[in-house]
Amino acid sequence: MTEVDWIGAALTAARPQAVAALLRYFRDLDTAEEAFQEASLRALKTWPQNGPPRDPAAWLIFVGRNVAIDSVRKRSRQEPLPDEALLSDLEDAEAGMAERIDESHYSDDVLRLLFVCGHPELPATQQIALALRIVSGLSVPQIARAFLVSEAAMEQRITRAKRRIAGANVPFEAPGAPERAERLAAVAAMIYLVFNEGYSAGSGEVSARATLCGEAIRLARLLLRLFPAEPEIMGLLALLVLQHARAAARFDANGSIVLLEDQDRTLWDRAKITEGLALIDKAVRHRRRGPYQIQAAIAALHARAARPQDTDWAQIDVLYAALEEVQPSPVVSLNRAVAVSKVRGAEAALRMIEPLSTRLAGYFHFHGLHGALLQELGRNEEARAAFGRAIALANSPAEAAHIRMHLDRLMADGAASKRFLPACRGRTCSRNSSAKAELPLRRNSGPRVSDRYAAVRPRIITPFTAQEDFMATQAKQAAKPATNTASLDQSCPAEGMQTPPEFKGPHPQVKGGPAPYLMVDGAAKAAEFYKRAFGAEEVRRYPLDDRGRTMHVHLYINGGSLMLSDCYPEHGHPWKEPQGFSLHLQVDDVDKWWDRAIKAGAEPRMPVQLMFWGDRYGQLRDPFGIVWSIATTPNK
C-alpha cells in the first residue's frame, strides 16, 4: 500500500510560495531554484528528526535564503550563519520574518512566479515546461516524458525559456491593481494550457500526462487560495475539476476516445463534480461573468445529467451564446453549429460552419464535424474528404483513430450514419441507464446557473451536442494570446450596462487640432466624470465588454475633441501612469470652469492666479491622473 510521503508532500505544497519568495529576494530564477533545492535537502535531513515545522514554506524560505547568502559569504571568507538543524521550528526567525512575508506578500510573490512562467512572450510549450519545472518542481525527465520529447530537448527548451524570461524584465515591486489583473489573466491562461496539455493526451500517454492535469488543478487551487474573491479563478478551478472528473471514462479498453454521450457516468468522480458545482455557486454570486465561469457552467450541466438524455441542452445553448459574447471566436461558433445540427438538422448546421472554413482550415474538429454533417446528408464523397483532412490534423492517435472509425463505417455501409454526431439516439445506453446512483447535484430549485450568466435578451435556442474534447480544445485555442481579438463590430455590451449613445450612424466630426487620445483605467467612468467636470458632450461610445471596458469614447469639450480608451493589458496595452503632459482649456470664465471641476471631484494642483504672462491660470488633476490646466485671458 502506498505510504504517504509527508515530507515530499509538504515540500511540494510549499514549493510555489518558497521559490516565489526566494525569487523576489534574489531576483534570479536559477539562484532561487538552487536555494530551494538546497533547503529541501536540509529539510529531508532535519524534518524527520525534529518533526515538521509549523510553516514549511517559511522554514524553506528562511533556510534557502541563508544557504544562498552563506555560500556568498563563504566565498568571501566571512562568518557562516548558524546551522538550521539547531533551530527546531524557527519560531523566532519566523516572527522576524512575519511582517516581510505576510499573506499579501505571499500572494504577489506566487503570482509573480507564475506570471514569469506564463509570460506572454513565451510560446505556449515553453510556458508549460517552465511552470512544471519551476512551480511544480517536476524533474526534466518527467516533463520530457509528458511531452514525448527527449530529455536533452526538454532541458534545452527550459533553458531557452529562462533566458527569454531574464530578458523580459518582469518588475519586482508589488504590482498595482491593473498589473495584478493582467498577471492573473495571463497566469489563468497558462494554467489552462498546462491542463489541456494533459487533457488532450491519448490513452497511451495518459499516466504520464495525468500528472499535468493534476498539477494544473493544484496551481488553480493555489491561485484561488491567494485570490479568494476572483470569480474567474473560481470558474477556472471549477472548469478544471469538472473536466478532470471524467478522466476515468474518457477512453475505452482499446484506448479509443469515448464520446461524452457514451461514457460510463458511474466512472465520473463525484467528489470533483460536487466541488466544481460548489465553486460555480460561489462565482455566480459575484455577477461578473467570464469565459472560465461560463465554460465551467457548461461542464456542470453535463456533469449534472445522470444520463445523456437528461442533459439540459437548452441551458447549454444559452451558455454558449453567452460565451460567444464574451469570447467571440470561430471555435465557439463551431460549437453552436454542432448545437444547431441537433435541433434544426445537419443542413442548417452545415450552412453555419461553411463560412468558418477558411479560419478553421487547420482545425481538427472543424473537419470532423464537417465530415459528420456531410455524411448525415448522404454526401459521402465530400464526407470522406473532410474526414481525411481531420485525420491529417489529429492531435493524438486516439483522435485519428476515432475519425478512422467513421471512415470505416462510411466505407462499410455507405449509408448516412450519424456516428460522429453524438445525436445518435438509436444507440443503446444500457451502461448509462444502469447507473444506480443519481449524482449528488443541485436540485432544480431557484434560478439555473445559466439564467444568471446569460444575457437577458432572447436568443434562438440551438442546443449544443456534447462532443468530448470540444470544450477543451476550444479553450486551448482561446488561451492562445491574440487568437480571439474581438473585432469592433463583434463586441457586445455586457448585461445591464448602458451604452449611450448608440454605436451607429455617421462618424462624429473630429474637432480641433491634434485631438488628445487618452488611455485611462475606466474610460466610461472618465467620460461621465468629464461630463460633470467640464460639461463634456459624448458623441460616440463603443459598447462595453464584460469587464466594463470600451475601446473608444469620443467627447467634445470646450469645442474640441477628446478621445478615451480603456487599457487592454492582454493586447499589450497595460495601464500606465500619465505623465509629461497636461491638457489645456482656454475658456471664458476660468473660475466657473475651475469650481465645476473641483465640485465634480478634481484635485487642485495649482490654484487659479494671475500669471506673469497675463492669464488667470490654474491646474488640477482629475481622478484618472490627467493634469488639466484652465486659463482665461482677462479683457483689459
Partner: protein, 124 residues
C-alpha cells in the same frame, strides 16, 4: 459522552497527495472507523471540501466573504450539517441562524464525504 474530533492539517500538502496516497490514507483510517462502527461508537464523520470551496458569513455585518473563516480570535464552538440546495440557500439558512444568535461568523463549506455513523446521542 460524545466527543467531536476536529481534523487540522496542512491543506496544500493534503491536496498534493496523489489519488493512490489519498486512497491509502482513507483505507488506513477506515480500519479505525470500522472498529468503532462495530462498537457502536461511530457517529457522523465528514470530510470537507478544500477551503477554496468555502464562503463565510460575517453575522453582524451580514457580509459574505469568499474563503474560509480566517480569524484566530474566535474559537470553533460547534457546527451544523444541513442539506442545502446551493450556496445561496445555505447562506439564507446561515442568516436565519445568525438572526437567532448574532455575533461571530458561519463558514459554509460543502461536504465531500459523509459517513452517517450510528452512535446514539446521549448514550454514554
Amino acid at each position: 459522552m460524545l466527543y467531536a474530533f476536529l481534523c487540522y492539517n496542512n491543506e496544500a500538502a493534503v491536496c498534493s497527495w496523489t489519488k493512490e496516497e489519498d486512497d491509502a490514507v482513507m483505507a488506513k483510517l477506515d480500519v479505525v472507523h470500522q472498529k468503532l462502527v462495530k462498537q457502536g461508537r461511530f457517529g457522523p464523520a465528514l470530510r470537507l471540501m478544500p477551503t477554496t470551496a468555502a464562503a463565510t458569513l460575517i453575522k453582524e455585518k451580514d457580509l459574505v466573504l469568499d474563503g474560509p473563516y480566517a480569524e484566530t480570535k474566535e474559537a470553533l464552538l460547534g457546527f451544523y450539517i444541513i442539506d442545502c440546495d446551493d450556496l445561496d440557500h445555505a447562506l439564507s439558512i446561515a442568516r436565519e441562524l445568525a438572526d437567532a444568535n448574532p455575533g461571530g461568523a458561519y463558514e459554509v463549506r460543502p461536504v465531500r464525504l459523509f459517513l452517517p455513523g450510528d452512535a446514539k446521542v446521549g448514550q454514554a
